[in-house]
Amino acid sequence: MKLLEYQAKEVLASLGVAIPPGEVARTADEAAAACARLGPVAVKAQVPVGGRGKAGGIKLARTPDDARAAADQIIGMDIKGFKVPLVYCEAALEIEREIYLGFTVDRDARANILMLSAKGGMDIEQVAEESPDSIARLYPNPWRGPLDFELTRLVFEAGLGELGRPLTALIKKLYRAIPDYDALTAEINPVVVTKKGEVIAGDAKLEIDDNAAWRHKDLEQRYGALIEGDPYEVEAKKRSLTYVSLDGDIGIIGNGAGLCMSTLDLVQRAGGKPANFCDIGGGAKAEVVENALAVILMNPKVRGVVINVFGGITRGDEVAKGIITARDNLSMKLPLVVRLSGTNEEEGREILKRDGIEPGVNAWAAAQKIVELTRVGIR
């Protein structure tokens, strides 16, 4: 779960991180009112994706009228596929300097990595490429967390020794997002040092592990509904599916990310355009298959669906039953190609055949078949 900026800031504030005063506004009038209370503000689009600054999603407003105009422009704007649902009006800071601070999971090291750089702000990725040494790095032991001496070393390595105490304290608070919230990424970029010497989070990004959602139901309840985006993805999330929208017209269901991706590859190779990626996972049951089909059929662009299941834990008979129930419940009329192998595959194929669905044996053939069937009306 990727939190919006103001949500990430609320969470970090609960860990003791200093944040600027700010208010959420859903309308232009609310933004004007917030500015009246806060003074000059930055009006910031709230979307769970980077690059909003360059997309025009952040505007400075000195007066309530400015704020109203800015919010009017930003709310409803599309930023990388996300329709901006609301803005965050945040008191403008007197910036002395900007620092980069963040951690994420380093897959290669199978560990968390903490990063700190004196060169914070918008261009940190460029800094990473051009002068990687200007980013100090630390792999904290996951049971111990970062130790004081490790943080002191990190701070001096980043050339920020004179800010040792406030930065060390800040990093410890940010790090709490791991044990307390199962954070996968937490970033404060920039950490703002104000002209008065305060150390404040200028922006904040926080991603919580979906696998640990059961431990953080409060977050899901408070924020879950607000992160809008692709409507099919939102619906899929409600139904606990792993689903990503794409812009083609062939619906794709597979079990396992690898098989699902290779089905995408095959459909594209056969000349088709996938409408989505939908992994129904290892132990998928009839209900899950039905859910997946329902979400895919919500999309009016979809002209047909290919299902590719190779069963290990997933049993072919259950998949077959799910497909039939789903097709019938949804009165599905579109072409449907099913490739079914693995555990209980004979039983599964039997069930499909009985209900008038011809099961495929080979994924490549199935991909070609669905492309052929969905191209019929187009030519």
Partner: protein, 286 residues
């Protein structure tokens, strides 16, 4: 011969009384795997499908002399089950469970440093099978066939796909190892290929990778140094769109690695042919 598992491996099923644990225990036994016990706290002293059940792994290992385990417990308990197996002296821990929080796996990986004898496969993996001999996990025996091809894969279902195609073409497998698709996992491509390299019964190796991470690149580096094995690689996800990224931390550390292109190039550079589709693999091995 084979790697990691054979007919003499003594296996405990952790979570044997659960639905999946129960079902797959039967499947493992059917192949001839020596399933010598299972765990289920509170059910110690009973038997399940003829197999003795213990409260703890310590008890199970003490009573049975087991050296391997397969984990089928629900996700909230799986990380703990891995550590329990390692602390009990198990040398091959196969974690089938998917959905373990990544931070828990990071802690588990650190914990395992204290138990260098313990090799972890997974989590979120289909396990491994030495066709005709033994298996831990959920790879269907029916699609496998004894032979000399080592198969190692990050994807569960693609593994079946490929194994099935190989078997149908009469090309048997020495051992099939599903390392799992999670970002933080146990044995890597590289670890498994090193084992195949040392296994005289294995002459060819098929590597099935995925976008993300750089385990495939590391394996390619290893193969580039020279190997007696005839290797073929396949990467799924070439047409997958880039994930919508938030924040810069990920980009700072991974740079350009992790794409299908980067992985395929790494293999080609190492002299390893890359299959366009899974169906092409059989041809490239001939």
């Amino acid at each position: 011969m084979s790697i990691l598992i054979d007919g003499s491996t003594r296996v405990i099923v952790q979570g044997i009384t659960g639905r999946e644990g129960s079902f797959h225990t039967e499947q493992m036994k059917e192949l001839g795997t020596k399933v010598v016990g299972g765990t289920s706290p509170g059910k110690g002293g009973t038997t399940h499908a003829g197999i003795p059940v213990f409260n703890t792994m310590a008890d199970a290992v003490k009573a049975t002399g087991a050296n391997a385990s397969g984990i089928f417990v629900p996700a909230p308990f799986a990380a703990d089950a891995i550590m329990e197996a390692a602390a009990a002296g198990i040398t091959l821990i196969v974690c089938i469970t998917e959905g373990i929080p990544i931070q828990e796996m990071i802690r588990v990986k650190d914990f395992l440093r204290g138990y260098p004898q313990a090799r972890l496969l997974g989590a979120n993996c289909p396990g491994l099978i030495t066709p005709g001999e033994a298996k831990i996990g959920i790879i269907p025996q029916r699609i496998t066939r004894p032979g000399s091809i080592g198969l190692v894969s990050r994807s569960g279902t693609l593994t079946y796909e490929v194994a099935s195609a190989l078997s149908a073409a009469g090309m048997g497998q020495s051992t099939i190892v599903g390392i799992g698709g999670d970002p933080v996992l146990g044995l890597t491509f590289r670890d498994v290929i090193e084992m195949f390299e040392k296994d005289p019964a294995t002459t060819q190796v098929v590597l099935i990778g995925e976008i993300g991470g750089s385990d495939e690149e590391h394996a390619a580096e290893l193969l580039a140094r020279g190997t007696r094995l005839k290797a073929v690689a396949f990467i799924s996800g070439r047409t997958a769109p880039e994930g919508k990224r938030m924040g810069h931390a990920g980009a700072i550390i991974s740079g350009n690695r992790g794409t299908a292109k980067s992985k395929e190039e790494a293999f080609r550079k190492a002299g390893v042919p890359v299959a366009e589709t899974t169906d092409d693999i059989v041809g490239l091995l001939r």
